[in-house]
């Protein structure tokens, strides 16, 4: 049995006593506190078994990023995950940011009380539900005897506040164990900030661990303007800031009338209770794209008489809702959405950080000592495109990016929803379908080319795209992402979402086609030269064993010859290749020498042509 805190034991005891009246034929109706409900149904928030630490990391990073972006602060986040007591699977997780902080009077409820959030508004944010942070608090309370420690400093105040908190799970109320004010405290090297330290009991399986690494790496791709420091028992790594540009913060918008229902309408009327506003005025002021004329039209279509707005009963209101649903409005505006944007996503793609664990195994008898480090992938080219569309009455922005070549050496699909990486269920995600459906010949290359130049025995898939050294990024922004499951890990193909994603990807394929063809040509030449370098020694050995000849001289002559040849392949169109007769080459020595120079330049290009290609990178498509 897990260790329980005193608070919970009391709750538990009460419940047991209440439940100790069995079989008397009466059904008891109890009300459960939100906190208790979420702890009992932790799967609803994704906090299950092995995923607890992953979810905690996710919630903390998302909160930190949101709290920086709300005030356009370039984020600096440090996250640390360290084992405290390995026998009992106790972990200490700490996260600090330089965001706006939480006002001290709001800290206890904001941290501990479920369904309390500053994010219940119509705009795109990472967290929405006011559950994640509370889940960490509740689990910490449930499984450990350590209080949750919180430091906060807001932009308005100069003081720093320190709290030790626990959650009363039975009542959804915070318990403040201690509170301390530090005048002009400087735990933060910033004007404001928030720091939380929690102890959690959880297992960290290798899969969860790699998901946590993936999560942080991928977050850094869409947030290249954030410095993220990540510390574990295996070491500490830093994801550097690659751009100072931050996305425009999203702003709250009024709901779109196509999406109206009885609840939104009643709330709108309620908010005007003490003002003498007509129903027409309420409609205009509470919904976007609603002109005075439009409102009139709706009211006449609904066939309701004009009277004091508070006097309408539900039967009349539903007529108004129905009338709205039958009326055509302008498309919803997208001010409430915050796409990553071409410049920022490109910065993320150009230097793609990935966590790697180095296994240092000097001594066989020692357990391998893993050491964290960061590998930065720099592609040879990137491209970006985006589309704005309406998916089931909600404005949605689809962004797509491609990073190709360089030291990227395999295919990978990255999926993001509202800047959150999606790591599970890739197979059932609409993005996977889109990638399968868009033919790679849009890039001007054939399956055959790809299979020849990128043959990889480890890739079992028959799809050519899986062989290319290409990373494809999809980002969907919407206030309502059509997730497939409650776990929020894959996106369903709802409405025409797939169509827009497909056209985004097709656009990108077309944009990069010339460069990809060039890349493949270079790859072909490299492959060919490598093949020669591998086989020539065998040929030279065989010949020099059989006849009396200077092996070095033969080898040098051979290599020089093939380097010329590979140079020609680059310059001469393939059709001419077959026409090259071996016996008339000597006449065109001069040309050959020229092409040799060209090849050498071309092959060297692989290293420094990146800069050249960025300039040519295709521009964002404006819809």
């Amino acid at each position: 049995m897990k260790q329980r805190t005193s608070t919970e034991i009391t709750t538990q005891t009460k419940r047991t006593q209440a439940g100790a009246l069995p079989n008397n034929g009466k059904v008891r109706y109890d009300r459960k506190a939100e906190s208790e409900f979420f702890v009992d149904n932790s799967a609803l928030a994704g906090f299950t078994g092995e995923r607890i630490l992953y979810m905690a990391v996710r919630e903390l990073i998302e909160n930190a990023l949101d709290s920086c972006e709300v005030d356009h602060i370039l984020p600096r986040i440090s996250l640390s995950l360290k084992i405290y007591d390995s026998l009992n699977d106790m972990w200490i997780i700490t996260c600090q940011d330089n965001g706006v902080g939480i006002p001290p009077d709001k800290v206890p409820v904001a941290v501990c009380s479920f369904l309390t959030s500053g994010k219940y508004v119509e705009k795109q944010q990472r967290g929405l539900f006011g559950v994640g942070l509370k889940m960490i608090a509740a689990f910490s309370t449930k499984d450990t005897d350590h209080p949750l420690k919180v430091w906060t400093k807001t932009l308005e105040g100069t003081d720093e506040f320190y709290f030790e908190l626990r959650t009363d799970i039975g009542t959804n109320k915070p318990i403040v164990l201690s509170k301390d004010t530090k005048k002009y405290g400087n735990s933060f090297n910033s004007k404001s900030g928030f720091r939380i330290e929690a102890m959690l009991r959880a297992r960290l399986s290798p899969i969860t661990k790699s998901k946590i690494y993936d999560y942080i790496s991928q977050s850094s791709i869409v947030n290249p303007y954030a410095i993220i420091t990540f510390t574990t028992d295996e070491g500490s790594i830093v994801f550097e800031r690659r751009t100072n540009k931050m996305p425009e913060p999203s702003s709250e918008v009024l709901p779109h009338p196509s999406d109206m229902d009885l609840k939104t309408l009643k709330r709108a009327i309620l908010s005007f209770t003490n003002q003498k506003t007509t129903i027409q005025g309420i409609l205009c002021n509470s919904f976007q794209k609603m002109s005075n004329e439009k409102a009139k039209e709706i009211l006449s279509r609904a066939g309701v008489e004009l009277k004091n707005a508070t006097k309408y009963d539900e039967h009349e209101l539903i007529k108004i809702v129905n009338a709205c649903r039958q009326t055509k409005f302008q498309s919803p505006n997208t001010d409430h959405l915050s796409p990553v944007g071409e410049q920022i996503l490109t910065a993320g793609m150009m230097e793609e950080y990935t966590i790697v664990t180095k296994r240092e195994n000097n001594n066989v008898n020692e357990t391998p000592n893993s050491q964290l480090s960061v590998r930065v992938l720099k592609p040879a080219l990137t491209a970006y495109s985006s589309k704005t569309c309406i998916i089931v009455n909600r404005a949605t922005i689809v962004e797509c990016g491609i990073a190709y070549g360089g030291n990227i050496n395999s295919f990978r699909l990255y999926r993001f929803a509202n800047k959150i990486p999606l790591l599970y269920d890739e197979g059932s995600d609409v993005a996977r379908e889109v990638v399968s459906e868009v033919e790679i010949n849009k890039m001007g290359i054939t399956k055959k080319d790809v299979k020849e130049q990128f043959f990889n025995p480890d890739v079992k898939s028959d799809r050519a795209i899986d062989l290319l050294p290409i990373h494809i990024f999809f980002h969907i922004c919407s206030t309502k992402i059509p997730y497939k499951t409650a776990g929020k890990e894959s996106i369903a193909s709802e409405g025409s979402l797939k169509k827009y994603m497909r056209s985004c990807l097709s656009d990108l394929y077309k944009k990069v086609s010339a460069q990809i063809r060039k890349e493949i040509k270079i790859k072909e030449a490299e492959n060919r030269l490598r093949l020669y370098k591998h086989y020539i020694p065998l040929i030279v050995d065989a010949i020099s064993e059989s006849i009396n000849i200077d092996a070095k001289k033969l080898s040098d002559a051979f290599l020089k010859l093939v380097e010329n040849r590979v140079g020609e392949t680059e310059l001469v169109p393939p059709d001419h290749m077959h026409m090259v007769k071996t016996n008339n080459v000597s006449e065109s020595r001069q040309e050959v020498r020229e092409s040799e120079k060209n090849l050498v330049n071309r092959l060297k290009l692989t290293d420094n042509r990146i800069s050249g290609l960025i300039g040519k990178k295709a521009r964002r498509v404006k819809e």
Partner: protein
Amino acid sequence: MPTRDKRHLEVIKKIKSVMSEISRNVISDKVLPVLDIAKVGYDNTIWSDDKRMLTIGDKTVQISPENTKKIPTFSQYIVMANAVRKLLDEEMESTIRGMYYATLSTVGDEKNKQKFWNTQDNSDDAIKAVELITGVPREEFSVTSKPKGMISGPITLRVGGDLIDCNLGSRATSQLVPTNIRDLEIVNVKADFVMVVEKDTVLNNIRKSGFIQKYNAILMTGSGEPDRATRMMVKALNQEWKKTVVIFADADPWGLGIALRYKIGSESLSYDSERLVTPDAKVLGMMFSDIYDYNIPEVARLSASEEDLNRANDMKKKPWLKDRQWQKELNLFIQRKEKCELDAFFKHGFRYLAENYLPEKLRESGVI
């Protein structure tokens, strides 16, 4: 130790001259070398009405490092040529599998490591290429395969210095047909005719019955696809020793194919037909009509597969099966869709094949 085999010296000389030419191309002429080799396969195999066998056409393939895909092939051929040269220099002999092992290696660096040979098939192909480059069959440069052909009957062979009498009185065993044909000589043949059967199991049954003694015959089998030594032995017995050769194989397109290897040759060895093929051999059975003429019970018949039928339809169009009798047989097969193994005669009794079926067929065609 006898003096160096002249044929071997010829092969070594030829290999060295190819190597020299390659080096000259690369160093002096500064061009990539090309090996111009006769093309082997169905699209360069021609039926010769004159010779009554499959012969090789005049198409060639250019194996050159010029072509990216041919880089490995080119080096495989050169490496194999060098290995053959070494083998002969050391006055050793080897099987084709031995050559595969002798040349086994990996290519490339740590990142792109590949096997030099994917399978032994690649190395077998390279040996074929050396045959085509030197114009000498591999048996003559001491590369042989594992013997699998068998021979029994009144014939005496000399292998190296040893005399081998294949008329093994006990009826209990057969002699393997040696594959090192450079060391092989037929000393004496007392038999009246040569009977080739498809499989060793059938040969054992016939030998045990006393067929050899009763009909003064030589029994041979290639144990399925005949190796070159077996084919050459059959040819020598027919052409040099003037013995009638009759062939019995299973009544299915596969068996007929094997019988035809002896009689007309094969696409993959069409360049060597003159040495391997016995055009005068008679394919006597087992005919598709024999299934019904000899009342093979239904349980012992097998139903034809789609592949069998395709093959039979193909065969019908071949010039060497154009005569009326073969067309009739193939039509019968295509119509009835039934095939049968020689072993099916055992259903009529263990001696039926050797004492009834074979003698009747041989009598029909006037061999006995």
